[in-house]
Symmetry: C2
Amino acid sequence: MSTRTREVLRKIYLFAGLEGRDLESLDRMAQSRSFSREAAIFWEGRQAQGFYLLVEGLVKLVKSSPDGKEYIMRLVTPGESFGEAAVFAESSYPATAICLEDCRTLFIPKAAFLNLLAASPRLAQNMLATMSRLLYHLTRQLEDLSLKEVSARLARYLLELCRESQGRIEAGLTFDLPVSKTHLAAYLGTISETLSRTLARFKGIGAISEDKGRITVNDPVILEKIARGGKS
Amino acid sequence: MSTRTREVLRKIYLFAGLEGRDLESLDRMAQSRSFSREAAIFWEGRQAQGFYLLVEGLVKLVKSSPDGKEYIMRLVTPGESFGEAAVFAESSYPATAICLEDCRTLFIPKAAFLNLLAASPRLAQNMLATMSRLLYHLTRQLEDLSLKEVSARLARYLLELCRESQGRIEAGLTFDLPVSKTHLAAYLGTISETLSRTLARFKGIGAISEDKGRITVNDPVILEKIARGGKS
DNA sequence: CGGCCTGTTGATGCGACTCAATTCAGGTGG
DNA sequence: CCACCTGAATTGAGTCGCATCAACAGGCCG
């Protein structure tokens, strides 16, 4: 069990390049926690006792409004951590974490982690890099939401997804959407109806085609132009 | 000169609680840089050689769209740092920094700072706390932009400004807007015309009153209700 | 006085959300 | 194997918030 956790820890980006001694400490403090689909891992506003590493599954971090709409701030994939910010700001979780699939996680208790952090400069450096990337990500979303319209956000998303999954952007490449269209809409800051219409428009101009949720990029140039385009 | 910089360093939140030895290192590496109103401190996308501490003045961090609109991601006040994320992610500045007033800053070169960071757990911890607070701030803005309408964002902003400047929220409290209304609009993700109309509506229902840019909160309860209200 | 910048107010148009109806796909049970 | 149910996805019509365009008022300065 301990050695299995150890194997898992090696695959966490946050722990890249750590010494064996540090990994041992992490191994000792990590608590394995599993959740089934639809379960909430933590709720926005709850006091944080630690943060999580996702080993297997898919997690959404969401904000929801009083009238039931929700915005997906981030989709967490295996190897990533979430809920970190709450640990360092002496504060509560800024969003709610919900499993989109059955999930295996490791819970890292705050106090023990802070101790280790003080003793491991490399870990601190990794943590800062991780949070910096998060800041970038959020910055980008803010830019999109404030300055771009839905079509630009969708175009950018499709292009990034293409690069991530296929390694490059090129006409004819094809890939699956990682989440349902309803979720994707919430992630793009819109609703499923609008997403549906926008996708239909992309198909209409020949930018993409779709077969059962599988997307093919036909004209990356047009997509890039749409992604660039400012509001209006 | 050195001892004056030293005094300045003590007032930077990021350096709270540091030992004299660490402050000396920072003192040695910090470079004083001044900018006049409207000057750009750095541009989005430029490779980062380090980050900045604002000693005096006011700085806006902005994203701008191809068609000229701009969104103010953050307003930086004295004692705060900015441009940190670029240092840890081996990357470029995520936004452009422009002075709204004449500014005095300290520039902290990346390499020297990373060295010090590895030797000072307390500094690393402070840095993590700082970035966590930033994440919170951005998270909140994302929530606002995606789920709330302009009136809710404005109401929340006014209430927070009241608490910050007056220490509490209460009918009759009065305070100045820290920036022009055009800038405030860009900060709230809208344009000056809409801000103007929304303020007018707030005055109309007796929530606030205004005298030459000086705001008086008349009915915090209504403001809180508006701030809470979801979209539509 | 005349330019300039900021802020206000009005009229109009567009994007996107809402509501509602329909289709489609997947899973279940008879 | 087909009928049925359920949730997701699509499509249409109507509405609303807000950006846009335009005109105008007030303050500041050369």
